[in-house]
C-alpha cells in the first residue's frame, strides 16, 4: 500500500468516524439542525399563504432557496472546524503523524459534506411531507438537485478552508456571519431577487449563495415560477459557470493557504492561542 493510498484510506476512515461522532453529539446535531428546525416552524406559520397570484404555497416556494442557503453554510462549517481544531490541537496532531494533513482534510470534506447532506435531506423530506402537493420534482429535477449540490460543495468547501486557514480563533467566526447574513438577504433566498435594485442584483450574482438558491429552485419548483427570476430563466449554464469559477478559485487559494497554516502550527502556537482564549473567558 503506497503512502498516498494509505492517507486517502485514513482520511475516509477518519471522516466516517467523525461523522458518526457528529451524528451522535447533541451539540453538533443542534448546530446543524438549528436552521432546518427554525425553517419548519416558520413554514408551519406560513402554511396558509400562497405566492401572490398563484395557488402555490409560499412556504414551499422558499424551501428550495433554504436548501441552497444550507449548502452555502458548508463554507462556514469548514472554516469553523479549522479554527476550532487549530485551537484544540487536532490539526497539530495531524501534522505530527505521517500523511496526517491530507487525511485530515479529506476527513473534513467528508464530515462537512455529510452534515450538510443530512440537513438538506431533512429539509427536503420535511418539505415533501408537508408540501408534497406543490413540490414534485421529476427525474430531471432530482438530477439538477444532485449536480447543484455536488458542484455547490466543491465551490464552497475550498473557499471555506481558505477562510478558515486565515482565522486566528473560533471567536472570529462571528465576524463572518455578518457579511454572510447580508449576502443571504440580497441573494433572493426569502424573496425574489428581481424585487431588488439592479446594482444589488449585480453584487448578489457574483457570489455562490444566489446561484445555489437558483439551482435548487430550478430543481424543485414548477416551471411557471421561473417568471420571478432574472431573465425569466433558470440559467443552468450560468449557474454551473459561476459555481465552477468559485470552485477553481477556492482550489487555487486553499492549498497554499492550508500549507502556510500547517507550517505555522506548533505546540507553543496552540498553547499561546489557548492562553489568549482563557484570557477572554476570565
Amino acid at each position: 500500500m503506497t503512502p498516498r493510498i494509505a492517507s486517502l484510506r485514513a482520511g475516509v476512515t477518519r471522516g466516517r468516524i467523525e461523522l458518526s461522532h457528529a451524528y451522535t453529539n447533541p451539540q453538533e446535531v443542534f448546530q446543524y439542525l438549528f436552521w432546518p428546525v427554525i425553517f419548519f416552524v416558520v413554514m408551519l406559520f406560513m402554511r396558509g399563504s400562497t405566492v401572490p397570484g398563484t395557488e402555490f404555497s409560499l412556504a414551499a416556494s422558499v424551501l428550495p432557496s433554504v436548501i441552497g442557503m444550507n449548502i452555502a453554510f458548508g463554507m462556514m462549517g469548514v472554516a469553523g472546524v479549522l479554527a476550532t481544531e487549530r485551537e484544540d490541537g487536532t490539526l497539530l496532531r495531524a501534522k505530527a503523524v505521517p500523511n496526517g494533513m491530507p487525511a485530515y482534510l479529506i476527513a473534513k470534506i467528508i464530515v462537512v459534506t455529510g452534515m450538510t447532506a443530512a440537513s438538506v435531506a431533512l429539509i427536503l423530506v420535511g418539505g415533501l411531507v408537508l408540501f408534497g402537493r406543490d413540490l414534485n420534482p421529476g427525474v430531471g429535477g432530482w438530477f439538477t438537485l444532485v449536480w447543484v449540490f455536488a458542484l455547490g460543495m466543491v465551490a464552497v468547501l475550498p473557499i471555506g478552508a481558505a477562510i478558515g486557514s486565515l482565522l486566528t480563533n473560533p471567536r472570529s467566526m462571528s465576524l463572518l456571519f455578518l457579511p454572510l447574513g447580508g449576502l443571504i438577504s440580497i441573494s433572493g433566498i426569502f424573496y425574489p431577487i428581481t424585487s431588488l435594485q439592479g446594482w444589488i442584483q449585480g453584487i448578489a450574482q457574483v457570489f455562490p449563495v444566489y446561484w445555489l438558491g437558483l439551482g435548487m429552485r430550478s430543481a424543485l419548483l414548477p416551471g411557471d415560477l421561473v417568471t420571478v427570476e432574472i431573465g425569466e430563466s433558470w440559467r443552468h449554464l450560468e449557474t454551473a459557470g459561476v459555481l465552477g469559477a468559485w470552485a477553481v478559485l477556492g482550489l487555487l487559494l486553499a492549498p497554499p493557504l492550508l500549507r502556510r497554516m500547517a507550517r505555522r502550527e506548533s505546540g507553543s502556537a496552540v498553547e499561546a492561542r489557548r492562553a489568549s482564549a482563557m484570557r477572554r473567558v476570565s
Partner: protein, 324 residues
Amino acid sequence: MTEVSELSEEDPLARPPEDGTVLDVCDLRMRYGSTDVLGGIDLTAQRGEVLCLLGPNGAGKTTTIEVLESFRMRSDGWVSVLGTDPAHGDERWRAGIGIVLQSWRDHGNWKVRELLAHLGSYYRPYSTPRRPRPIEAEDLINRVGLTDQSEQRVRSLSGGQRRRLDVAIGIVGNPELLFLDEPTTGFDPQARRDFHDLMHSLADDDTTIVLTTHDLDEAEKLADRIVILAGGRVVANGSPAQLARQVTRDAEVSWTRGGQPFVHATPEATNFVRELCAQYGEEIADIEVRRATLEDVYLSMVHRHEAGYAGEAAAEFHKREVQP
C-alpha cells in the same frame, strides 16, 4: 549505554559521522525579535540513548524540542535528526519520530481505543521487519494502564489518564526517536513507575528518547545523559555520575560516636570511613555517605548561571571533561 554516552561527549563536528548518531545539533539558535531564546546549543544522542533535558522554566527546553520535531523553524545553526534536517523532513522521516508535547487536548470526541487504532494506521505503510508499525492499540492501552478507560471518550479522562494516552499516541508508530516534553505531569506514583518501565523497555528496543522533566529524581532514574539548559544555553552535559563529580568531588560522611553526631566532607570517603572505624572501632555508629545528588548539581549549575557565571560554568565543564 553509559559507554556510548561518554563517547558522544566530544565536539560533534570533530567526530566522524557514524551510523549510531540519531540526533546531532550544532550551535542551534532561536531568536524572537531581538531576544535570543536559544543562544547556541550543542547536543548529540546515540541510538538507544535516553537523553534528559533539564532547566528552569523558560530555559528553552520546549523550544529546542520543537525545532527538532520540525514544528518550529530555527533562526540559525545546524541540525540533523535521524540523518535529516527537520526543516526538510518528509513523511517517511516523520514516521520515525514520536511526539509527546507539553500539553495536548485534541480529539476530545474520540474514544481511547478508536483514536489509538486510527492514529496507528498512518504508520502501517512505514512498517519494516526491524520496526513493525504500528504497535497494536490493545497492547499499548495495557502498557500505559488505560485498560478500563479504553471505551471512554478522551475528554472525559482525568489529567493523568489523558497524559498516559498522550504517551501511548507518541509511541504508537514504534518510533526510532521519541520526544517527550514533560510527559509525567499529573502521573500518580504507580503511573510514574509504569512509565519508567515503559521507557526502559523502549530504550532496550533501540529507541532513542529525548525527554524534559522537572522531576530530578525521574531524570536520575531514566537518563543515560543529562543536559541542563539555562537561559538558552547548555550549562552542563554528562551522565548523572559525571555531573555529580563535577559539582563537588567531596562526599559527605556523617556518623555518631558515643551518641554524638559528626559530619565530614572528603573526596576519599571510603578511606576516611575505613580509618574512622580503625581508630574508634565499636564506638562508631550510623555511618552514612552521601554523594552529591542530581538536585545538588542542578541547583548549583543553575545558580552559577543565574549569578552570571554561565560562561565560566560552561568553560569549567569543558576543562573537566577532558580530564579522565
